[in-house]
Subunit: 468 residues, 2 copies
């Protein structure tokens, strides 16, 4: 793709949306910078997903798959997709401009912007540099940060980098933007229903309502080929599904055990377990995988404290069975899925709303989960709560970390409006969805190409490709 | 490229290299982490370049170019290149393992590793994840950071991120590795002699001899298509040479002016100028470009203080001429190259040693410059000196920032030994160099391929591809 001509559809004016915008502004740092700012975290958040989606139950029928294969087996309700009018540049432009406009943030107040993505349309030029178009009018060209990549983990690295910048002596008092998004597209076959598309933008700064928790983060990285994209001319990844599912869970086990031990030390409580976590947000390639992750929370908690009465039903059978056996032992996995059902229902399921309705957004997935939570749970209920995230990118890179809610999240919830916005999408019949996939495959990497997708299939305020 | 089988040649044992290794170890953070560690910067540094190079004067003859076109016009002496035995994975493995071994650093003491590169062989799996192979034996899988990309700027983003991590409350007391490297390969034609290959590794931590200077960094980023890689299946970039040279200089002007103003404020000196900078290290696509950058230092200094007697020779002609005119006015550029010759000779040229001998290492270029300086100037002469760097990545992303030398750099100099190591390379005749370029082009992205390059063309301790 060369210099693409990008336009955007008319934005719905915020003044007509029924509420007044608050504004969030940077506060210039004066005097001594030797002290770190307090409560660094998420000041604002927005999510973009395409207007078009395909119903997974319809897709099951169309594909001749057994009933429930996608809806229950994968735990997916709908899958978002884009036609040839959108690419990684346009969806990131859309989500950043939307956040800035909704929250009334000045482009001059941004000192850092990093993009986490694995949707690579140029091996050299970053998506971040494309986003600098949005800053041109303000005259602010001093914006640090570029792109960061390792499968679905890029957004997490970008988030950590943004927070670290604000806590470092290099911070200049301005705010940071983190963009995490992807187009998840698979070749036709069993992996295709695990696709999705979308991007999340987060505004990071001090005195945030949703603050990062220090001293508990645990990371696990290793050299693996579970999911990768060695064919640079194709949009499709190469996937070893079984290895990827197992690697996710293995990384999860390491991260959760490391995290909970650090939390135990920090809180000085004996046998810390999932009870210390109010909400769990897992990276969701498909939501069933997160249910498995929750089962692994129970496996680790049980291993760490076999006397916990929550595990009465599995104690006898699994007291001496190592967690690793569950990577291949489906009976064991089901037993712990059963015993962790209440944890899943009360702590994890709310965060999976967007993932069920959109599918995988790769880098955006876990942050779409956080957005789902902040959008649906009231600010009063969230106050004082710990939200624990697990980010996994194949290859592999994984981290578990947490936010604590210390302020009012109602503005974020109102601007996200995930349930309402997802309900306003257009269901596209599977046969038309497949035509769009064929179109993308045929026109991928074409030059001097004019996209043919209808502009009616875009939400107001969406950037789109006019010519490539 | 799929899971490549990587091996490495026998390493020359350090015990036979005539000096005893010091060791650098992480110090666990205990107690209150609210204070930032002091003197964060470069503890150790290593550079890797291929054993094979082509002489630019020979290449001029071979290409039928006018004498001096590459050697004087570009300012290049030799160009390093790899055959089909090496790729971005292998050169990064080589430079990291070399640094760790030379300086006696334990893999368990590393808490972060980020790779800056634009040599993309997989759109999803990071080079960082490949480097995790080196950590496997130590059992340390808790290493944050992935890859970061925007043309030649990735190493700088990785460096800033590493420093910020250490200064943040997320720091766990361990050290960070920054890897910056690329294979710079152009299609046959006028850009080909501006190629190169190599990687730099830096160990970042507190109490470093070469410390980052705070409060002076200036960054400029904008949306440009001066150099990019839209053809994902090719190793070659698309280059608008004139635009790229001008964009580099425009970014340079903005960054230098911003930087020198911040330095002026920090040092509380009137009319701060290049006299405050002891050494200048510029990103070098070819060294002539850095000489132009130095000319721009003079343009900005002259604009900021037209009474400076250093500019007597140009005052009358250029007093009212804006710096921007020089982007197209070659007479003006030459006038300022002439008037800045002494600045170039005393402050900039030493740092260009590796760039002249290797060519462009893209992300590694400016750090190869820093390595050249630390390798050639004695520790006593460096002590207390300010080293100012300019990093530019097309697309575009640029920063100017500085290090101050506060400790002994002799160990770093000894381990780098740039002059001696560059002198030990093998000059390959241009006709054979071209055959290698053809081989790379033909075999790029092949699968089930066994490289044919001779292992004699590798330094001891070099990782190489056995099978792809």
């Amino acid at each position: 793709m060369t210099a693409a001509a990008l336009h955007h559809t008319t934005t719905t004016s915020n003044s007509s949306s029924g509420y007044t915008n608050g504004t969030i502004a940077a506060v210039p740092v004066t005097g001594d910078r030797s002290e770190r700012p307090a409560n660094v975290g998420i000041l604002a958040m927005d999510i973009y997903f395409p207007k078009t989606c395909v119903d997974q139950a319809e897709l099951e029928k169309h594909d001749g798959a057994s009933t429930g294969k996608y809806t229950i087996g994968l735990g997916q309700t709908k899958m978002a997709f884009v036609d040839d009018r959108e690419d990684i540049h346009s969806i990131c432009l859309t989500v950043v401009s939307s956040l800035m406009e909704k929250y009334g943030v000045a482009y001059t107040d941004i000192g850092r912007l990093e993009v986490g993505t694995e949707t690579i349309v140029d091996k050299s030029k970053s998506v971040k540099s494309v986003l600098m178009q949005l800053f041109a009018e303000s005259g602010n060209y001093e914006v640090e940060g570029i792109d960061t990549t390792n499968a679905c983990y890029g957004g997490t690295n970008a988030l950590f980098n943004a927070i670290n910048w604000i806590e470092s002596s290099s911070w200049d008092g301005r705010l940071a933007l983190v963009v995490a998004g992807d187009l998840a597209i698979y070749s036709s076959g069993s992996a295709r229903p695990t696709g999705g598309a979308g991007a999340v933008a987060m505004l990071i700064g001090p005195n945030a309502p949703v603050t990062i928790e220090h001293g508990v983060r645990h990371t696990h990285m290793e050299h693996l080929y579970d999911f990768y994209k060695p064919d640079l001319s194709s949009e499709f990844p190469v996937v070893d599904g079984a290895l990827s599912v197992a690697s996710y869970l293995k990384s999860f086990d390491t991260c959760y055990e490391g995290y909970i031990k650090k939390l135990e030390r920090k809180l000085a409580v004996p046998h810390a377990n999932i009870d210390e976590v109010d909400y769990f947000v897992g990276h969701s390639p498909f939501t069933k995988q997160v249910q498995k992750a929750v089962a692994h929370i129970s496996m680790i908690d049980f291993k760490r404290d076999p006397t916990n009465e929550r595990y009465d039903a599995v104690r006898q059978a699994y007291l001496d069975v190592p967690v690793a056996q569950s990577y291949t032992d489906k009976v064991m996995e089901r037993a712990f899925v059963a015993v962790s059902k209440e944890i899943y229902r009360t702590k994890a399921e709310t965060a999976l709303y967007a993932a069920k309705q959109i599918g995988n957004m790769y880098c955006g997935s876990v942050y779409g989960g956080l957005a789902s939570l902040l959008s649906q749970v009231s600010s009063a209920d969230l106050l004082g709560k710990r939200i624990t995230l697990f980010s996994y990118g194949s290859g592999s890179a994984a981290s578990m970390f947490s936010f604590v809610v210390v302020g009012d999240t109602s503005t974020i919830a109102r601007h996200l409006s995930i349930v309402e916005r997802l309900a306003s999408r257009v269901d596209v019949p599977p046969v038309d969805y497949e035509k769009v996939m064929e179109l993308r495959e045929k026109t991928h990497q074409l030059r001097s190409y004019t996209p043919v997708g209808s502009l009616d299939n875009l939400f107001p305020g969406t950037f789109y490709l006019e010519h490539v």
